[in-house]
Amino acid sequence: MKIIESTKIKEKAYFEKLENGLNIIIIPKANTKKKYVIWGTNFGSIDNRFILPKTNEEVFIPDGVAHFLEHKMFEQKNGRNSLDVLMALGLDANAYTTNDHTAYLFECSSDKFYEGLDELMDYVQNPYFTDENVEKEKGIIGQEIMMYDDDPGFKLYLNTMDCLYHKNAVKLDIAGTIESIKDINPDVLYKCYNTFYHPSNMTLVVCGDFVPEDLLEEIKKRLLPKENQGEIKRIYEEEEDSINKERKEANMEVSTPIFMIGIKDKLPVTDEIVKKHIAIQIILNMLVGKSSSLYRDLYNSGDLLAEPDCDYEFSKQYSHVLVGGQSKNPELIYEKFKSELARVKKDGLDEEHFERIKRKIYGEYVTDYNSVSNIARMFLADSFKGINSFDYIEKFDSVTKDYAEQILNDVFKENMMGFSVIRPK
């Protein structure tokens, strides 16, 4: 196993790639009772067109398959539901689907970890889809889609994506639509399962008080033999280097308008992305963070109640900056954000402010290592982006004010901005 140590935060990570292609990452953490395992496949809602490695057949799948598959994985041939089995062991089990991956996990605070691992590795390797159980699931997922339809924050996000992207599937609901899931059947599910749930497309991360070598053996013992599979070719719609539209508004049951500013960025370059991500976090804090003059003014005028939520989201297929919040005057926020951006681009970043925010972000990165669940999820999500999570700490010092100013000019472009608002009815 390859061992990488971060001396700054005093943690180690063990990396292993098995012959069948499965990536395993183990982060041992002494003094903690909790153990966390997460097994993910690099298959998310945006992977809706691909070529089957075995037959070279091109497959188009309905929107929402990755998420549907996640729901159905728990059902076993013997009639049991693996989620129930894990819960009965006192394990906190769950699964989720994102734009670029699907993950199955549990957290354990007792001595039942290996019993849980038996079940987890068993159900992820043994799908059971029938016409009947697939039909039944459509009702449950239909309810879930409807529940999200009522969620203003969710709608706000999707509308922002619709502003930024012309065709990229990141603009679609991860769960699909009530219409699109009607076309899902066992055949589609098996095709996707057999392609994307191959070890070579998966990563398993464990964090907790373990001897890594022993744990590795335990994982290997539970893996079923599988034929090697070639690379999966994924086909994505060509995305134009412009936004789809600048604005999108909707009316829903909210008390105060909510808004989101999105800035579309170029596709990420793996070698540069961590450094860029750090720089963008610093810039966002400097623009609208708690100690920024913009936030102070908007708070004092009653136009912002709380610090906006800022994020830089990216996978191999998209990347964008997001600034979202709640305000009775969203137009004003958008205008002030743009003028502040123009001012900072002209004047450059303030040295003292830059260093202060760097300290703040360093503290946040250290805090990320507080919980086993956070560590494991972070390593998994980063691994699908080709990133080793420790790099955020290791590359931290290399982010200079000059570099951040360069990123500010490269990424924060007014012609790449979209603005979505949800207003009260």
């Binding site: 935060i9 007792s110 449950i140 049951e253 009775k328 300290r359 009815k425």
Partner: protein, 423 residues
């Protein structure tokens, strides 16, 4: 035992939790007072005004800058109902000195700032700054109006409000808009001065902390200046016996939504302390896990709901059943829920169900020490109920619950209120 507490003065207690599981230290101050219609809005407003400035750092911007320089120490405050008490909570989290790139004593700086925010606020002309109070009144108004934004939470809050009409627990923790007009910088400051003199104060420190931390707190000038007090708050002991209801209160309200939210407020007609363990197990079998009757029979088998579960409000002897359903399925869902309650009464559950429930509770209680905030909350709730049960003892009590005791609880469950949020 990694927990110790010390009564500093009457009404003021320091709690120290020593743990090496985290990269951070967490410091907290809780002010506990009785839930009361006359003070509920003032308390909520006060928590917000205090974070605006201190004697040394007069503006929020200055506080933020100081915290950013302390490697992003994060301050948070909130207001909560715990039983019939209203609690003002102030937290400060910062990375442990061991993980700083250079040697500094961050924990002392943290305590100073936290104490200043709560006990040495920014004052102008013998009152809070007008601008701060007026600004926070506007913000609080938006927060109160915002309670409709999260539909599931709103339905739950409304059910509690109806169940505890004209009782302290029915109050909304952020207070009421109509109170705001009558509060100004002077009256709020006067209220604050009285509150600080009389309120119950609990100071928590958690982390891999040096032993000196206790003396650092005791010798802190602000803390030394606090006077002993006989705090007025409700000890969360046994509740009064709940009255029998003949017919549950049924309430339905409309909003523009696509998914209905159905909440059932249940009374547990048993106020004995020792019954709480059996009630916990009862709740998990009924609706507290993926194996529960609610999840299995209402969500899975009947495909009637996306979400279906229940939660146990220990301090008030209530269980709340919460479902997200298709609106036309209301009658069907309600029928099915009542059937689950009946099954519980008939003892229609297995030893395996009991074991599973016990395992789930033990595992969740056992992991309290894995989060600094949960550990603080656990010891604080003990402090408020004036008892001490270690986590191990708690788990032992859960594991000794038997079927008879659960059925006994099931027979003492009554539906108090049915609340439905529809389109």
């Amino acid at each position: 035992m990694n927990y110790e507490k010390e009564n500093l003065k009457e009404g003021i207690t320091i709690h120290k939790i020593k743990t090496n599981k985290f990269k951070t230290n967490l410091f907290a101050i809780f002010l506990s007072t009785k839930l009361d219609r006359n003070t509920v809005t003032k308390n909520a407003l006060l928590a917000a005004v205090l974070r605006r400035g201190t004697k040394k750092l007069a503006t929020q911007e200055e506080i933020s800058k100081a915290l950013e320089n302390m490697y992003g120490a994060s301050f948070d405050c909130g207001i909560e109902k715990t039983g019939d008490n209203h609690i003002l909570k102030f937290y400060l989290e910062s990375i442990n000195n061991d993980f700083l790139p250079a040697k500094e004593n961050l924990s002392k700086e943290c305590l100073d700032i936290l104490f200043d925010i709560v006990f040495n606020p920014y004052i102008e002309d013998g009152k809070f700054k007008n601008e701060y109070v007026e600004g926070e009144k506007e913000n609080l108004k938006q927060i109160i109006e915002g309670k409709i934004d999260n539909k599931a939470k709103y339905a739950y809050d409304r059910c509690i409000e109806e169940m505890y009409k004209n009782e302290p627990y029915g109050l909304y923790r952020y207070g009421y808009i109509e109170d705001l007009d009558n509060i100004d910088a002077q009256s709020l400051y006067n209220y604050y001065v009285e509150l600080i003199k009389n309120v119950k104060i609990d100071i928590f420190v958690s982390g891999d902390l040096e032993d000196e931390i206790m003396s650092e707190i005791k010798e802190n000038e602000t803390i030394m200046n606090l006077q002993p007090r006989t705090p007025i708050y409700n000890i969360n002991k046994e509740n009064d016996t709940k009255p029998l209801v003949e017919e549950p209160k049924v309430i339905s309200e409309s909003m523009q939504i696509t998914q209905g939210k159905l909440i059932l407020g249940l009374d547990v007609l048993d106020n004995r302390k020792e019954s709480k363990y059996a009630t916990s197990v009862y709740n998990v079998i009924l609706g507290g896990s993926a194996n529960s009757k609610m999840f299995q029979n209402v969500r899975e088998k009947a495909s009637l709901a996306y979400s279906a579960g229940s939660s146990y409000l220990r301090q008030k002897d209530n269980i709340f059943i919460k479902c997200g359903i298709d609106i036309p399925n209301y009658e069907k869902a309600l029928e099915l829920i009542k059937e689950q309650l009946k099954q519980m009464e008939n003892g229609d559950f297995t030893d395996e169900d009991i074991n599973n429930a016990q395992t789930i509770i033990a595992s969740s209680v056992g992991s309290i020490t894995e989060s600094q905030d949960s550990e603080i909350t656990y010891y604080f709730s003990q402090e408020l109920s004036d008892e001490f049960i270690s986590i191990e003892e708690y788990i032992k009590n859960i594991n000794s619950v038997n079927k008879e005791q659960i059925v006994e609880i099931a027979k003492k469950i009554q539906i108090n209120t049915i609340y439905f949020l529809k389109d």
